[in-house]
Assembly symmetry: D2
Homo-oligomer: 359 residues x 4
């Protein structure tokens, strides 16, 4: 009525969409039935990658602002969680693709050389926009991965690399957290104190434990000392910066503190949605890792010891990328520094008030 | 080496594929973020529909032959099972689409009028190729559904309707089953006898059951009589044809027998793959039914009591289609006539031999 | 160290757990392999029902308070979302159970009479705690469902029925919403005005649409009038209460307003988590409905036209329950009264401030 | 009627089942809400492990026979495929368990020490029954894993280890394959010939390829020579046995041949179900590997760098086990030796006849 009538078929662009499946095997006169599945599965991946990129772009747009509006937080959390849902869902596409057997793949595998999933520009963009840097990447056939990209893709990738990634924007956002310091409250001091007390108590418990032999006591106490020492990375800025230089941490010192605060005090109204956002980022990382791993397993199953269509030992590459291409690894590492909720210092009322509504 | 080099991007037709997302809301200058999800989810559906059609076409091609080669059976079973796997997987797309809230949908819903999922030509083709006839369909806004198709689609649909569907081909294949009759063996007689004996025994059990009052005995015996009588539909060809005329059955009398034989003796080597095929057809029916139902629920959630974009009361239509658009319903009904394996008459050796290998 | 050592096996109670599978078919000397799957699938259901009940109980505990602490909102939302995740996951158990064929089921089906999934006390508790009232239930074999419960279960059910359900508690919580009315702001007035304006504009658009014939204009205008009139249920308290008495609505007038406010202004910080909670409740309803439906389909497949083990025509019952046992149906209906975000009246600053943080 | 009446609650043993959840945190007076999820998720795992063991036991029973009846093949394939479906489904439990955050886990983690998922006896049984030998296992805290088992479990494990595993039984079954040799047909000779021809043709193609420089030709030819040489492992029994001794292969020489034959000629009626069985075994392996990997990721997320409750560096262990605990790895490796279907030598009619039905 208000708008010109729309038809399903044209609206969805089904003509270009459904005429973009060209089997090489058919072109060469040896039609391989399962090549269709191969094409469509990968096309489905790429459609969903576009969607996830679309979500991430919108989130990045908001996060990049010098001040993130509280009214945008729910939106961002919802879009990140949608991205997680999509990524989880497409892991299941592997099960579909594996209904093609290795023998069926052989019917057209040679015809695709040297095409390879490594060449998915959108997946690379996804990694880069999330925050994967060039140096974090495994080299791909001894050449930077972007050699596999065409010129306009390389230009776009360079552009993306030159701009803040989601990782960068999140780090900046964390560093601006207004709750690390307040009247009668210094998060860091109070947390440090809580950790010290906790270990003190644990050591007392060991010392007074009559069930333990002297040797066991000694061993236990040494273990606690070592654990306590591992907190130095957190409490000693110089030590932290050293480890960061060595690549053990990526997040800034202040960013670490803020991330920890959000985790520990996530029940506070002002931290409920930030907590969800951090969790969604972790989920994205973990899900992409799982996705890579499932593909590594599938590659091994499809190719045995043969070299991948991309000329690399596919599954080896994927298995390594699985481990290395994590972006928000510090959020995982942070867990090491959690203390049980019962040991968490309560917030002073003035700070609790700042984190709450006053309607 | 043997073939010209291929690149991932071009091979998958990513240029047309990834430039086919045109948000109406953007065109009208009121970009609605979630319209992208709406488009891509439906595009993903259509990609997978194409794949399922591709599988069904290949299966239909084989089934239509006057004699199905035994060497093709495994292939057909695998392709039907793949279709089931795909259909099950895309049901999960509803969960993704539902990350869009009804309020977000409102932002662009009016712009799509009167486009509607009812207009998916491929879904219609899928139903038709499986065996849904025009008269089985619920009318759609009081006009035959193909009014929503464009001319070339209508022509293709007419063509498909004029050719044997998978249902038709399966029925013919069933009727040719060579195992219904053999030396010393008539499946129908022996099955009829087994049913009679079973009910006879059940009635004796009731009569001799001292725990039952006379009244309970009478009630139980009447129940058994009624159950036995329901088998008349199966054993009396005239009665069966009458019920068939009334729409209670669709499958031919001989087809029913063969389907029953396959179910009952599915462990016989020659019936193992036929059994899998029948099960896959049941799975396709059940999964498509579930797909329709999930969409009915989603429509209700998205639209409340409002009329669908297609102008119909969407969820009502879908809920009805859910029940009516079943194709292999007779395979479901057949269950009524199963008897426990312990009561199934053993095959005479000559028939068992015919169903087995002799290497 | 601090606590006595624990072993996996004992901790999880694996002795009782793994010795609770007693096949009737084995007891009667006719072991049916698939009865094990039947038992274990249902046991897995019951384990997860216990978990969902545990989550709901904890949420109900919080919701029942005369004032829900803002620091508890994130927790509640997480626990409801976990319940949704569990319910979605166990729908997939149907796929597992369906690897048992109807013929395999026949091997032990008679031995279970009259046991039936209808007798799952925990599922009934779940429905009741969510808010399903006795009168909402379909009668079960013409007798109230609790006839199938044992005495202590009946007592517990009575007790649960006599206490506020999650539905009741949510309704009370909604009614207390502090944002319906404020300085320079009355949600209801402003919403009513926005609706009137929207329809006014739509009618103008129709009248000025030169593409439309006079007849089409008339039809369109009548349609708009009818749509506008449907809002009366919302705007006229007397009309609403009348419809409520007739069973068209369950939620109180004020509860409806609050639910609408939360949906419409969900981006406001104070409404972000309430919105998630309402969405999770909708998800629970929709998922339980889907669960029932999948079981109805499975029952039909397993039993054909035969009566269920519980003596009812199983799938008919389930299909009906599917539609009727919805609890938060008003949240679905509410969608009817949504207006596009662009038409939503902006909040006056004073109200926006009340819904925001001030750190 | 025939059998005493049965009630859902008692039949499923719900009293012991639903009273086996004892939270340590409750026992110690510090109830941690999420410990319930932790318990129930692991109990659900164990229930399903019992089911998978039940299926494997029944399959092993059949496979162990000196001659596997053809009428049992469909059954075995169905039960293995059911096991795959179950294992795939429970991987999804990780998503449920991850709704518990690391901080929530800390509330009761210390109370469980040193309980650990490594102590799951059923999972160990599962691995062992499939064919994992003691020496294939990663050592667990420098002590054989069965130190974590109680006495009766150790006895049962020893017993299982002393009997043929599914791996052993499948190997024997493969070695008995009647189709490796026949009138005018020796699978091995014909396959070797086909491989030689294929490589010969490939080399000719390279030599005649005018697009290639001399250097590229040389490189390509060397690559082909190397690939051809890798087939020596298959064609030269002495070389194969040497590699087998070094642990590169586990399957016997004849077993390898049979497995290859089944893969290559899987369309032959007599090989359709054997092929499904081999595929299901591969699926079990791959799914268990994925299960381990998802748990490794989860452990890393839950524990950060902390040591696992079992005292090992949990995720490291799991990541390694992921790679090493594969049982049917040779079926994966076999893929290396596949040749495209177009190069596969056709069967002589006499052999094709032996693999077909003659009804």
């Amino acid at each position: 009525m208000k708008y010109p009538p729309v038809h399903y078929h044209g609206y969805l662009g089904l003509d270009p969409l459904l005429s973009s499946q060209h089997r090489k095997s058919e072109e060469y006169g040896k039609p391989a039935h399962d090549e269709m599945l191969f094409i469509i599965t990968h096309q489905a991946y790429e459609l969903w990658f576009k969607q996830v990129l679309f979500e991430l772009d919108s989130v990045l747009e908001i996060f990049k602002k010098s001040k993130v509006a509280e009214t945008d937080m729910g939106l961002m959390s919802a879009r990140l969680e949608r991205s997680v849902a999509i990524l989880k869902m497409i892991i299941g596409h592997v099960d579909i693709l594996e209904t093609m057997t290795p023998l069926d793949f052989l019917d057209f595998r040679d015809m695709l050389y040297p095409a390879s999933g490594f060449q998915s520009f959108q997946w690379r963009l996804l990694e880069t926009k999330l925050g994967l840097r060039m140096d974090d990447r495994l080299s791909y056939n001894q050449a930077p991965f972007y050699k596999s990209l065409n010129e306009s893709q390389q230009a776009e990738m360079q552009n993306v690399l030159s701009q803040p990634s989601l990782y960068d924007a999140v780090e900046k956002w964390l560093e601006r957290t207004p709750f690390l310091q307040g009247e009668n409250f210094n998060f860091w001091d109070s947390y440090k104190q809580a950790v010290a007390t906790m270990f003190q108590e644990d050591m007392e418990t060991v010392k007074n434990n009559t069930r333990l032999s002297e040797e066991d006591k000694k061993k236990n106490l040494e273990g606690l000392q070592a654990a306590l020492k591992s907190f130095d990375a957190l409490f000693d800025e110089t030590a932290f910066e050293q480890l960061r230089k060595e690549g053990q941490f990526r997040l800034s010192y202040k960013g670490m503190h803020a991330a920890l605060l959000i985790q520990i005090y996530r029940d506070q109204p002002a931290l409920q949605t930030p907590f969800r956002i951090i969790r969604a980022l972790l989920d994205i990382d973990e899900t992409m890792t799982t996705w890579r791993y499932r593909h590594a397993l599938m590659a091994m199953r499809m190719l045995g010891q043969k070299i991948g269509t991309g000329g690399s030992t596919g599954h080896k590459y994927l298995a390594d990328a699985t481990a290395k291409h994590k972006i928000f690894g510090d959020f995982f590492n942070l867990t090491t520094f959690f203390i049980p909720r019962s040991k968490v210092p309560p917030l002073p009322q003035s700070m609790a008030d700042r984190m709450n509504f006053h309607y």
